[in-house]
Amino acid sequence: MNKFKFDWLILPLVGVLIVLSVWHGVAGKKIFVTDAAGAIIEEKRIGLIPDLPNVVETWTSSLPYIKEPFAKRGEMDQGILRFTWYSLVLVAQGYAIALIIGVPLGFFLGLSPTFTKMFDPLIQVLRPVSPLAWLPLGLVLFMRAGPEAGTYAALFTIALCGMWPTVLNTAVGVRAVPQDYLNVGRVLKLSRWKMLTKILIPATLPYMFTGFRLSLGISWLAIVAAEMLTGRPGAGGFLWQEYNALIYEHIIFSILTIGLVGLILDRLMSLVEARFKATS
């Protein structure tokens, strides 16, 4: 039991401490230059990377956002959970679009060799394109949509980037359905619809959920990029606006928040995934 605690609690904490101390070591520090009378002449930052805020500064500066996570002081000055919530809502919408398009596309790719030959090269070209590259195209596409253009562009980017893992995993899953199961369906003369709902979809579910998990990760990556470029309020938008406002502590704070939320989303999805793997 002791050993167990050591493995999952002490060792990770040691790792975090090491990284924090390295960060604190290279980060800058504010000092005050005083004259003989003790009056402050100027304040300046010293250290290896003078402009990098240190651990204490980051903590004290972020505290208001953590203490009142749902506060709304202004458009770009809100509690961190409120920002995260905005981002999550947008991700959820984009992710839903990605799944709605991705799953049928994956099934077509898995079922039809002709379809695969037609579209697979195209998919392989589009897949590695970064969210940052899709967003301007999205803005152009929805330019005439009025004030909501930024939202549509962000959804477009999330859906397009987050779709691929679902598409490819579903396709692999469909191709990996054992011939025996298909033979059962053939002997029983199942209709196409029954073949799909009774055999293909259940057999593909574990693969699909792996795709869903990876898609969610990419959607979360894309949202930050989309918010940064469109300036929407949210975890990524907050990061960019604090960079422009020269409050560097909040950049680090945002990065940590984005990372933690991403981790939580991934853990939640793996729980769901494990459930589906267990039942099949």
């Binding site: 033979n183 002997v187 029983l188 003369k189 579910l205 039942t279």
Partner: protein, 296 residues
Amino acid sequence: MAFLDLQNVSKSFGGHSVLTNVNLSIREGEFVAIVGYSGQGKTTLISMIAGLLKPDSGTVTLDGTPITGPGPDRGLVFQNYSLLPWLTVYENIALAVEQVFPQWDAPTRQAHVDKYIAMVKLSHAKDRLPKQLSGGMRQRVSVARTLAIQPRILLLDEPLGALDALTRATLQDEIGGICQSEGKTVILITNSVDEALLLADRIIPLTIGPGATLGETVPVNLARPRNRTELNHDPEFKRLRAQVTNQLLSFNSTRQTTLTRKLILPDILPEDLDKPRVHRPPRRLSEEKSENVTIA
């Protein structure tokens, strides 16, 4: 007129002839066992009867109608059970029953499924998933699923191949009993001569490929019900077993063996185990500078 009729059926895969000129005719209600070595086209043959594969040449007809595709009139019990792992025992069978008897109402179907689950003695496990069942139980479910669709002919493709000897014996008796009471036409594919003798009315050996075909039929005129312990002392059983076994062995003696690959032996020399064990790399033939040859 034969019930199931195969005329000059041939099949090859990628230029390799698997079966050539297979002729087989089976009467209604007959239990035929096809015995042969592994990998000689037994499964190919039964897949063609089931309609999962199309013969390259020749015809397969069931009751005068040519077989063009798979269908529930021929119940195939798969070698590897092929139960759908996300459905329970009951659901696996119910899926088949719903598909084949859509005209029945729900209570009729339910009673029908329950009847066949009871027939294979699995009523206590009907809500379990296949992964919670042993191999023998899974094969029972598979048999029940096939019988429940009431096929006109039952195709058993090495149904007991993956089971241990004891389970195998129990299931042989059960399948024998069920087939006897249902009076079904059955084709059993097996590699066990004893299993064939225990169950079948007629044994047909499959010769060895490439281009395997069916050998000479051996009728089994042993009285039913057959008891495996009594059979072991039956002179007729012994004679038949010798006959079928010899026939199968004679195919093997004509098999030609050709070496198509160069054998590459591992580049390693034996260790002297009398010497104390120390950590050292293995001796390699290619690295030996000189070889000591002792002449006695």
